[in-house]
């Protein structure tokens, strides 16, 4: 075919744009692997939730109560009155699209209904039809639609495909917070008995025993005793884990997963070692034995009910202030709601570190300090002897968990801790960390195994950035400060970036911490301790730190 000039098919001639379809005409798809099971009726009843019944998303008929439309519309009217922000969010979106490509579920799935602007439209379209004149007259032309069972199914699927992470709101010029719209959507769904089990059951357990798994006080004590024994085996130092000790200076509250799940548990060992080493006068509570609050993912009432135990226990035990562990959404609840919801905690004092004398005046209202703030203050004041080389087996990157990062602005303290606990720390690309961090894809109560495929989609943008630092810097450890992250990032990474594990910041601190009288040959996971100092204190303590934080990607 000499001389023949084959003309390649041009991009323009390919069917590049599949037929566009109005989102309203695309029916919801209840695909296995992408939704959550309905609430267990016994646990829903335990919480006095309305319209408890047996149903599943896979059923054709969701057995909605007879007057379900009335309940939803009245509920919406009620909330529009109660929350000015909701009314504003319904009215002011100009559909500029700035948020459209910022949601990890959209980025990982390509499903347009996961664009935050469309997620909000799911609710807004109903609002328009029933609450605006244009919508009443023009209907679909004005983007309005009636509330049908189909719409409710769509709400159920897509309000549980939002992790309430608030990444979209960072980019909205009007500050519209789609997470709050999702929260309202979930409240309305719950008002007609459409809750999911992975939120309802932990909430019921928490209401009954104070923690998500329903561990009773003696089980809680047993778990901590077990950890104390293990820590003694690893370090040769026997620490105390005081529980319900009245008159202690500080109440410590951490997510319950810290004492029963892996890899959370190594973070627990880290806390115990740290508190012992600085001689902290503190106590755990067997009742406030959960930092997490699945009420946040259910309704504001439920959030309030579950949160109340923290102040109640602080009062009962007579502590001065509260220290909180590595938890994600616990910090959103207490930073944004606790003070007005269950406070003011005027029986507590403005937190002051008993070790350094630092006043945590930013916590003046809530009286609760984040452990990374507390520990970085200890480091800054030279109160800890940290042997970085003991973490030389790990090359670490840090995942900003959505709630501490975006809701609380806790960006530098965890980095400061990591930087002082290990020699090899590498940042992920700038548009995937700090305020712009990508969610794990499993937060807000949707980290279930039945929802696994959706989680893999939603977590893909996060994993993609981890993969990058894994490939260019050999990163093999992802540190984070959230219990949900610690549970859901390991499977995420196993699927997308094998070879990267997950740890807590205080696991790194616990490994590096040189304790008086210690004898260590293994790290907190029982693996051989690199560069270990041994009982005689020899080691590489004075090696200069190799600074490898790369931010220029």
């Amino acid at each position: 075919m000499a001389g023949a000039k084959p003309k390649p098919e041009k991009l323009s001639s390919v069917d590049y744009h599949p037929p566009s379809q109005s989102w309203m005409d695309v029916p919801p798809n209840v695909r296995p692997g992408t939704f959550n099971w309905a609430a267990n009726p016994a646990n829903a009843a335990y919480l006095d939730l309305p319209h408890v019944r047996k149903w599943q998303p896979t059923d054709e008929d969701w057995k909605l109560p007879d007057n379900w439309q009335q309940i939803v519309l009245e509920g919406l009217a009620d909330r529009l009155q109660k929350y000015r922000s909701l009314k504003l969010f319904m009215d002011i979106c100009v559909r500029c699209g700035a948020c459209a490509d910022k949601c990890h579920f959209f980025l990982g799935s390509g499903d347009p209904k996961n664009m935050p602007v469309l997620r909000a439209e799911l609710l807004r379209s109903v609002y328009r039809r029933d609450f605006t004149t244009a919508g009443k007259i023009l209907g679909k032309l004005a983007g309005a639609r009636p509330l049908t069972p189909q719409v409710i199914k769509e709400w159920f699927l897509y309000f549980y495909q939002c992790t309430e992470c608030r990444r979209c709101s960072v980019f909205c010029p009007y500050g519209i917070d789609t997470a709050e719209i999702t929260m309202m959507g979930r409240e309305l769904l719950n008002s007609i008995g459409l809750g999911i089990d992975w939120i309802t059951t932990p909430a019921a357990n928490c209401f009954r025993t104070g923690n998500h798994l329903g561990i009773q006080p003696h089980g809680f004590k047993d778990s901590l005793d077990f950890a104390v024994d293990e820590l003694a085996e690893i370090t040769g130092v026997r620490v105390e884990a005081p529980i319900n000790r009245k008159g202690a200076e500080i109440l410590f509250v951490s997510p319950s997963a810290d004492y029963f799940a892996s890899p959370h548990y190594y973070t627990l060992l880290g806390y115990l070692a740290l508190f012992h080493e600085i001689g902290l006068d503190y106590t755990w509570s067997a009742y406030a034995s959960e930092g997490g609050n699945f009420g946040l993912f259910h309704s504001s009432d439920m959030m309030k009910r579950l949160n109340a135990k923290i102040y109640a226990e602080a009062r009962r035990l007579g502590v001065k202030w509260i220290l909180g562990g590595e938890c994600g959404h616990m910090w959103r609840v207490l930073h944004q709601y606790m003070d007005t919801m269950n406070g003011p905690a005027d029986f507590l004092e403005e937190p002051v570190s008993p070790i350094t004398g630092t006043k945590f005046d930013h916590a003046r209202a809530t009286k609760m300090v984040h452990i990374c703030e507390f520990t970085s203050d200890l480091i800054a004041n030279g109160k800890l002897k940290l042997e970085k080389s003991r973490n030389d087996n790990v090359r670490v990157t840090f995942h900003d968990s959505c709630n501490p990062a975006r809701a609380m602005g806790l960006l530098d303290e965890p980095r400061y801790c990591i930087d002082h606990a290990c020699n090899h720390f590498f940042e992920m690309p700038e548009n995937t960390i700090r305020e712009q961090t990508f969610c794990c894809g499993s937060g807000s109560g949707i980290g279930t195994d039945e929802n696994f495929e959706m989680r893999m989609r939603g977590g893909f943008p996060r994993a993609n950035a981890v993969k990058y630092v894994h490939e260019i810097h050999g990163v093999n450890m992802l540190a984070c400060i959230c219990a949900i992250d610690k549970a859901t990032l390991p499977p995420l990474l196993e699927f997308w970036v094998p070879g990267v594990e997950v740890c807590g910041v205080h696991e790194l601190i616990g490994n590096a911490l040189v304790m008086k009288g210690e004898h260590r040959v293994s790290d907190l996971r029982g693996e051989p301790l690199p560069g270990q100092a041994g009982a005689d204190g020899e080691g590489a303590a004075d090696q200069p730190a190799e600074k490898e934080v790369s931010k220029d990607v």
């Binding site: 075919m1 000499a2 023949a4 084959p6 003309k7 390649p8 098919e9 041009k10 991009l11 390919v14 590049y16 744009h17 599949p18 379809q21 695309v26 798809n29 692997g33 267990n40 459209a100 490509d101 980025l107 990982g108 799935s109 390509g110 499903d111 347009p112 664009m115 089990d197 059951t201 932990p202 019921a204 357990n205 009954r208 798994l213 329903g214 561990i215 009773q216 089980g219 047993d222 077990f226 319950s256 004492y259 029963f260 799940a261 892996s262 690309p429 195994d449 696994f452 495929e453 989609r457 893909f460 943008p461 993609n464 950035a465 990058y468 549970a487 390991p490 499977p491 699927f495 997308w496």
Partner: protein, 190 residues
Amino acid sequence: MSIREHLLTNRADILSSWIGRTFATYPADSVRFFATRSDRFANPVGDTIKRGLSAVFDSLVAGADPERLREDIDAVIRLRSVQNFSAQDAVGFVFALKEIVHASLNGHAGESALREDLSAFDRRVDQLALLAFDLYMSCREQVYDIRAREEKARSAKLLARAHQIIERHATGQKITRDDITPQVEGGERQ
């Protein structure tokens, strides 16, 4: 001109057609974004597909071995194995390459000088499709495997404690009331 030369000369056009056809398997409103946003972290799906298919294309042209092809296509198949596709839609985009290459020959495909060369290329694409299907299956299996194991990690320390009690029982040690009182009531989840 051999098929190989043809593919090399027209790499950009053939490749962008193939990538475009693959994007077209997503909803219209997403395609625009996947195709145009170039930041690899802001558009991980678009980037993974572009990067993956480019690597596969180059390996095909270079006559790389199946192991290499498998590595090149892994990320794309892995992605599609958890997205909203049936098995055939998840891997079907591979066959589009044949169509695109045939069309790009603009009626010369039947010429005897090319015929054999072209059917060898077609066979390579078929092999690639089989490989892709294999990978798809292994990703699905991995999904079920990880799902099954993650539940254990969520109560790892409670399980360890239970094993400790069983061991103590087996070695004839005393078991206290606390050991056997159910410590967990209600749900089985975190």
